[in-house]
Symmetry: C2
Subunit: 336 residues, 2 copies
Amino acid sequence: MTRTVGQVRADVEEASRWLAGRVVRTPVLRSPVIDGLAGARVLLKAENLQHGGSYKMRGALRAVGRLAAAGHTGVIAQSTGNHAVAVALAAGQHGLAATVVLPVDAASTKVDRARAAGARVVFAGTSVEERVAVANGLSDESGHPVVDAYDHPDVIAGQGTASLELIEDAERVGTPLDVLVVPVGGGGGVAGACLAAAGSGIEVYGVEPVGCDSLARSLAAGVRVPVAPAPTIADGLRPSCVGELPFAIVRDTLRGVVRVDDDEIAAAFRLILTELKVLAEPSGAAGLAGALRLPPDGDRQRTVGVVLTGGNVEAALVARLMAPRSADLAAEGAAA
Amino acid sequence: MTRTVGQVRADVEEASRWLAGRVVRTPVLRSPVIDGLAGARVLLKAENLQHGGSYKMRGALRAVGRLAAAGHTGVIAQSTGNHAVAVALAAGQHGLAATVVLPVDAASTKVDRARAAGARVVFAGTSVEERVAVANGLSDESGHPVVDAYDHPDVIAGQGTASLELIEDAERVGTPLDVLVVPVGGGGGVAGACLAAAGSGIEVYGVEPVGCDSLARSLAAGVRVPVAPAPTIADGLRPSCVGELPFAIVRDTLRGVVRVDDDEIAAAFRLILTELKVLAEPSGAAGLAGALRLPPDGDRQRTVGVVLTGGNVEAALVARLMAPRSADLAAEGAAA
């Protein structure tokens, strides 16, 4: 997996041109209530309205598309959910066979979506190490390449196109971004954001759940530092370690990392649903939670872009987060 | 309130030009799961992402804008929620004083939104008759005109612009509408849809909750027939009688009315949230519930447009509808 950091903004621009017409150009949403809470103009890129319900579709389509063009007939992916589903959908569009490795406790909706897209679903333990081992074994047997969820240049460039569109759209309407905020799991999205913002002067921040802060610790240490991920409702942000390639991209360009707890994520989830009228998964809502924690820049009203990364969430969790006692539950989750 | 039916498609087209840049050109959403359930291509116009969270903003802006241009300095509106909030917001944008008359049991979020927009809120009973009497009294005192929620040509034309945009966008992407489905309260939206679809060959259907079917009964009788509205979770669709002007417009052009129960509305609400990732109020979800009840047209796959009219819904109701036992609750509601 060792690679030089050869990636540049042009890779994201090229991915964006290739993806035009293949992905939804998702809308940018705003709410005066959210602006007031943030003390800033907040522009949210609604990637929950993307094909497959998540911006993971961008990286998966770009990576699978290039593998198809190179003559591959099948692909393998592992994740806790969105990436595997996205690869399944992308493979279906390109006529490639897909095998996706999911944890045994995967959300049933994600299993159903992968199968509906025509993928073979293989279950493997509950840890990323178990899934990676099974995915690599399947790759060795079949000769089909593994599309990693974040340690892959095409995935990073593809994820970065969401940030690039947000940067472009903010400029177009006369409110260019000062800040760009992206939730961090393995780091593919935030690495893509750093590439998209390169040379623009936009400050890019990552957001990690408290106790799932591999990137923050890695930046402080100067080398990648794994963590034992703490429980969080943002299940997409729980990899034990930031990816090698994402870390190499962001280590010198990221402005900082904001840590948020489950209470803040739940509050952001509710704001997004009641004010913007769209459904975010908690991992997606974490970006807004982080934006609401940014320190103000004196009296200047900044423009803050947030990538609302996805909206695949179980009905029961929606009910729990919207119930009158949800603030207490979220606080319990944070304390767990 | 007696008026000749002088309204034509050009009124909607003119309103659409005037509203361009003043309202959000909301996206059209699709889901393969919904297409499968409907046996049709279903295109949903996401007016829950409109300013104010509802397509009522279109009619309110158009009507208030014309009153402002005519020199009025204030306006009065009454409704159970969305229309009054929309008039408050529109008046604020045009620098007019707004007084809105709400029922004493109005949702607190709607009261808060009207006040946040700078409107004076007056509470009056729980029936439309009580609110109309108070609104007319305030109008006599102040000289400010009442902007009716549906019995008003500018409101109808404004609401119709949502249908017009949907018709245009469906054509642009190569899937022109065969059918257009709009939920019916007082009938302003469905009247606007009939105007927007005039001459196009598109079949327009209205959707009413079971027991709130004043339009269906009126069409059968040939004259307006009031009902004692039954309980329904679609609280925006409970006027006791379809408006005079809307009825005059739709009586000869509407293809039909579909009646839906609370169970169907709740199922549509969940589909919209989990598949499209957006929040519909039950009155908005009723449109999809109706589209799912349309009889098939032989083996032909039709394209069905649905105006998802709004997304202003209380958190507790979202929790109830998404809870695991919500199907039972919805069934209870329908049986009530």
